[in-house]
């Protein structure tokens, strides 16, 4: 066994956390000494009890929060000292599914899904097909014009997922993406994530549903316990699909 060193990330690694700590205000740290590396094309589950710090860790991952200490590298660049004007470029390489969906309430399902492409400057005439395909993919092609308030929780969840993946992100971060759907739809959504993963996207799914973990056998598990990361499967020490690492 030759564990991959945590502090020698290369550009091939999507994300590297090194001794990251996070506290809000003067409270105790919600994340302590978190170190891991995410490799391209991998599928990760982030588990832990409520309040373990899953959402805080995800917020660091999708650059909504800066850590209180430690080092974060994303796509081979120090994400903590990243100049503000470069943040949008990094965020466009990420797809995020929020626990509370965070759809824009006055936009239709179509416009919500199209938002990342519009933000990226894709011409309007080039939106119809990819957005239509994506809504079809999440089985919402008959709800194109519906606003979030007209959609059920599960439908909103699927719109949020479609919005997160439409830009073919390098890293997809999903916070409890199956929390509002029935078991059948949960499996379908997981299959969607797997399909995206097979296309090369690194996927991180935060969930407290232990049954879900078994549905993706190749997945790697990151477990958070009171803000500290444990590594029960060795996923963080023996990165998969990493050529030439010696692992």
């Amino acid at each position: 066994m030759n564990p991959a060193p945590m502090t020698s990330a290369t550009d091939a690694e999507i994300v590297q956390f090194d001794n990251v700590g996070l506290r809000y205000g003067s409270d105790r740290e919600v994340l302590s000494d978190v170190s891991f590396t995410l490799y391209p094309g991998s599928f990760y589950f982030l588990t832990g009890a409520s309040g373990a710090g899953k959402t805080s860790l995800l917020r660091l991952l999708f650059l909504a929060q800066r850590p209180s200490r430690g080092l974060i590298r994303m796509f081979g660049t120090d994400a903590i000292t990243l100049p503000r004007e470069r943040l949008p470029g990094f965020r466009r390489r990420l797809g995020v599914v929020f626990q509370d969906f965070r759809l824009v309430p006055h936009l239709s399902a179509f416009d919500n899904v199209a938002l990342p492409l519009r933000v990226a400057g894709v011409p309007e005439q080039d939106l119809l097909k990819p957005v239509g395909d994506m809504l079809d993919w999440v089985q919402l092609s008959d709800r194109v014009h519906a606003r979030p308030e007209q959609l059920s929780g599960g439908e909103q969840q699927r719109v949020a997922i479609a919005r997160a993946v439409i830009g073919r992100p390098d890293l997809l971060v999903a916070d409890e993406p199956t929390g509002n759907v029935d078991p059948e739809m949960a499996v379908k959504l997981l299959r969607l994530f797997e399909a995206l993963n097979r296309l090369g996207t690194t996927v991180v799914v935060a969930t407290h549903d232990v049954h879900l973990l078994k549905k993706v056998p190749e997945s790697l598990i990151m477990r958070l316990d009171k803000g500290r990361l444990s590594d029960p499967t060795g996923a963080l020490r023996y990165p998969p699909r990493r050529s030439g690492s010696g692992a």
Binding site: R91, R92, R118, V119
Partner: protein, 296 residues
């Protein structure tokens, strides 16, 4: 259906930027048009009066004896007519002088019990009156009319010019204050709208939207409202200005007759709603960019 402007425009719903801002901008533009029109009209008054009086000199013969006064006035006029640089000389008839001062002194002038009134000689030079020319004229006239007092006509209105100048500055200060109030109204409105749309802004940020993209959404919304309100405000302000102009025109005399606005002035006034819109857009942009810099 999904036109290029639809989603961009809808991201910050227009209704959330309305409220009192439209009214405030309309009123500010109306008041600015009125203040600016007043300033421009006063400028025209000062310019017209100044041009009219710049070449004028008044000679007063301050002599109690009516015969001696008349004699000195005629000698002074003759000397002035022979002086190079003098374009015209007019001895103002005594009846005209009495009519001019009648409102203040009544009809009791000259005669045995009347108040002696100076004789006036109105002189127009070919060039502008300066101190040197005035001194030379004064010396020349006093040789033949010792009771003469020679003054530049512009000197009479110096206090009036000073007052007009002060009023013009007041108008400029008012325009500045109104512009500041307009900017303040936009800042408050944009901050409120940003608060209401905070979630949307955060989402757009997290999806890779730039600060400038987000600022542009607010700019656009503010521009549409500012231009619409500004045009209504301009119409209102212009109506008030035209009403006042017609009232002053009815007076038909004195300095006020020069207080009209030319085409250039109206073009300047028409720029007020456009400049107001530009100011509102700039204020919105800076307000949004500044607020966004506090977000990650």
């Amino acid at each position: 259906m999904f036109g290029p402007d639809q989603a961009g425009g809808e991201l910050v719903p227009g209704s959330r930027l309305s409220g009192p801002m439209s009214w405030v901008i309309g009123m500010m533009v109306a008041l600015t048009v009125i203040a600016l029109a007043a300033g421009l009209a006063l400028g025209n008054v000062a310019q017209g009066a100044s041009a009219e009086l710049a070449n004028g000199v008044t000679v007063q013969i301050i002599q109690a004896n009516p015969e001696a006064r008349q004699s000195e006035a005629e000698r002074a006029a003759a000397r002035l007519r022979a002086t190079p640089g003098v374009a015209s000389v007019r001895v103002v008839p005594q009846a005209e002088v009495e009519r001019l001062i009648e409102p203040w002194l009544g009809g009791q002038t000259d005669g045995e019990d009347g108040i002696p009134v100076p004789a006036l000689v109105d002189v127009l030079l070919t060039g502008t009156v300066d101190g040197e020319t005035l001194g030379a004229l004064r010396r020349s006239v006093r040789e033949v009319a010792p009771s003469a007092r020679v003054d530049a006509q512009s000197a009479w209105l110096r206090p009036v010019f000073a007052a007009i100048d002060a009023l013009r500055w007041l108008a400029i200060i008012m325009v500045g204050l109104l512009a500041s109030a307009l900017a303040a109204a936009v800042i408050l409105s944009v901050r409120t709208a940003m608060g209401l749309n905070r979630d949307t802004i955060e989402i757009v940020h997290l999806l890779g939207g730039t600060d400038v993209q987000i600022a542009r959404l607010f700019q656009r919304s503010v521009a549409i409202k500012a231009l619409t309100s500004g045009l209504v405000g301009f119409a209102l302000g212009a109506g008030v200005v035209l009403l006042f102009a017609s009232r002053f025109a009815e007076l038909g005399a004195g300095l006020l007759s020069t207080a009209s606005l030319g085409a250039g002035s109206w073009i300047l006034l028409a720029l007020v709603p456009l400049l107001g819109t530009g100011l509102a857009m700039l204020t919105a942009r800076l307000t949004v960019l500044r607020a966004l810099h506090r977000m990650l």
